[in-house]
Symmetry: C2
Subunit: 404 residues, 2 copies
Amino acid sequence: MHKYKIGLFGFGCVGQGLYEALEKNDRVNAEIVKIGVKTPGKERPLPAELFAYDPGEILENDDIDLVVELIDDADKAFSIVKEALKRKKPVVSANKKMVAENLAELIALQKRYETPLLYEGAVCGSIPVIKTLEDYYALEQVKEIKGIFNGSTNYILTKVIEENKSYDEALHAAQVNGFAETDPTLDVEGYDPKYKLGIVLQHTFGIYVHPNDIFNQGIQNITKSDIAFARERGLKIKLLAKATRQGNNISAFVAPHFVSKESPLYHVENEYNAVLVDGDFAAEQLLLGKGAGKLPTGLAVLSDVVSITRGYHYRPSELHNDLSFEPSTEEVYVSFESNETLDFNAFKHITEKYVGKKTGYVIGQIDIPALKNLLDENNANVIFTSGAKAETEIHKLAYSYEIG
Amino acid sequence: MHKYKIGLFGFGCVGQGLYEALEKNDRVNAEIVKIGVKTPGKERPLPAELFAYDPGEILENDDIDLVVELIDDADKAFSIVKEALKRKKPVVSANKKMVAENLAELIALQKRYETPLLYEGAVCGSIPVIKTLEDYYALEQVKEIKGIFNGSTNYILTKVIEENKSYDEALHAAQVNGFAETDPTLDVEGYDPKYKLGIVLQHTFGIYVHPNDIFNQGIQNITKSDIAFARERGLKIKLLAKATRQGNNISAFVAPHFVSKESPLYHVENEYNAVLVDGDFAAEQLLLGKGAGKLPTGLAVLSDVVSITRGYHYRPSELHNDLSFEPSTEEVYVSFESNETLDFNAFKHITEKYVGKKTGYVIGQIDIPALKNLLDENNANVIFTSGAKAETEIHKLAYSYEIG
């Protein structure tokens, strides 16, 4: 049986996880023969001859028949992946930004060169999201897919809401425990889950949407008042990525949501990720697990390697349909400082409005583009209420609310 | 591209679900050309020429290159599957009893005739259990796999514990809603989840254990006292199937468990199934969904059909290891009527013992074979306590307990 020779790009956390997972495993018909890294001279735990500093050493090597791309830089990663596909070397990647930003072209390249690219590790670590969408949900009609796609923000929200920590304390704890990057922007502002959502859109509904066209609001503007509001109503705040089908329209966004205890996502805490799919055939299905980390993501990459050796490829472009991506109208809670002059006319319908001494909030229905404007022009925060099943739970304490 | 011609055996609930799912789908390169059924003359929703009453009409038909077996009778199903494999026709089945009882021989047949058999629909309906075990967990070391493998008993327990219904009312509601069979024995006595557990053992640890060798206790003997005991301690009772690795020993059983709210399984209610896998790489991962029903199971079968058309096959026998199946020692709660003379010497260690006017209970450690004896010889019920994380939660109300 043919033993695949892997050229690995990147030897960071996940790269080392993959190496370790491969070492401990004799069911995989593949070995790492070369590792492409950036910095020569750095001390590494493996023999020097295994490392290469010029990508060409891997890409132009005819012995190497499988490329695993695990570097940080999305643009460099895209060059590597393109070149590998052109040379008919199958690729496994875990780079969510690279995949999300270039998926249309990547699908075309795979078709043109009849060479597969797999990227399970790019979406929610060890949770088999893409595989399940491809092998199960592509066979039926999905109504909605949503979930907690980012571990570090879920960890922060858990500490803030359950353990009464301040946002800064919680962020620091996430960084110390390795759940958040030194520069947490991509996580806390909701870009990381947005990349994943873009990939999920392609594999669920067969449409490509560039991340720039997807609305994202992170958790960085959540105030103490927002948390008190949630707590009083028995709700949690979760950063959800969500895509919904309504007729032939698909809407998708990343935003904090109030979530009531009836939702399976209410119980997903700390660094865990979860994906909830609702389809015509399978009904609600939840996949929950570690969304990041050396070994969980390493396992997802290893699983892709095995799938490549078994001739597996995605078929995301074969989901042919007449779906279009449209901004939706959502019910949201917008909180603001009382001295702000929020344009309430941006809302199509207002259910509830409160202005106190320092802070205020409004609950109502608004189009996503209008919401984006409102947030750009005001010192305000938004939490979507559609995650909370019973609307009454949101409203039950209305007008009895004041935070000093 | 070759279009697979399916010979389908059985046109009950799942068979009709598969037919419907295939009709609604143009991504599947397969069509049903013949349906083998038992009873001639019965009115059916499809043209008469589609049906065959002699299995030979399908098995001996060289045009048919994929057999889907969805009949009730496990022995007849085994004959059909054997014959199909011998004739090098790939098979998809959803018959848990047939697969569990004959898995060793089925693996050998697949090898000998180089023809695959897939059976995702046999284990927890629409939840991709076997696929995830094969494609992910076969690549690492699993420490434990457990879950709620039976929807009708989970539905009954939910009604009894959450809604205060009597066991008979709950069973009746399950039957009315189509979650339980007219003869509920296989479900309520824990045989159905045991078949699934046997299949899971093969795909998780690479060992074949006949269902007869796996201990199963169902929910039919749970008393009002047991429910009150759980409720007072904030615990739920869930019927769990569980397999654990300790060194090179594997233990496995099906039994009611006390489950505390820290466990993700605590929140799995009604007819839902859930599988919790704990591995060295991926850590805890939960898969939750509908474990039965026309369309959920139909989707699993359809997914297998697609996998066959893509050349996929399981590799359960390649998990080579030195594992052996051994009965374990477990901490259990055994309740009994006060006039019973329970042999307390069967326990290796007793933590707590209570005897009241009418009922009593003992909590202690016991070997599975000794437990089996105890239950055979006494009018007693057992609930495993290992599902409840904090032992103190079990014991905190000890000695303050009496049910009239």
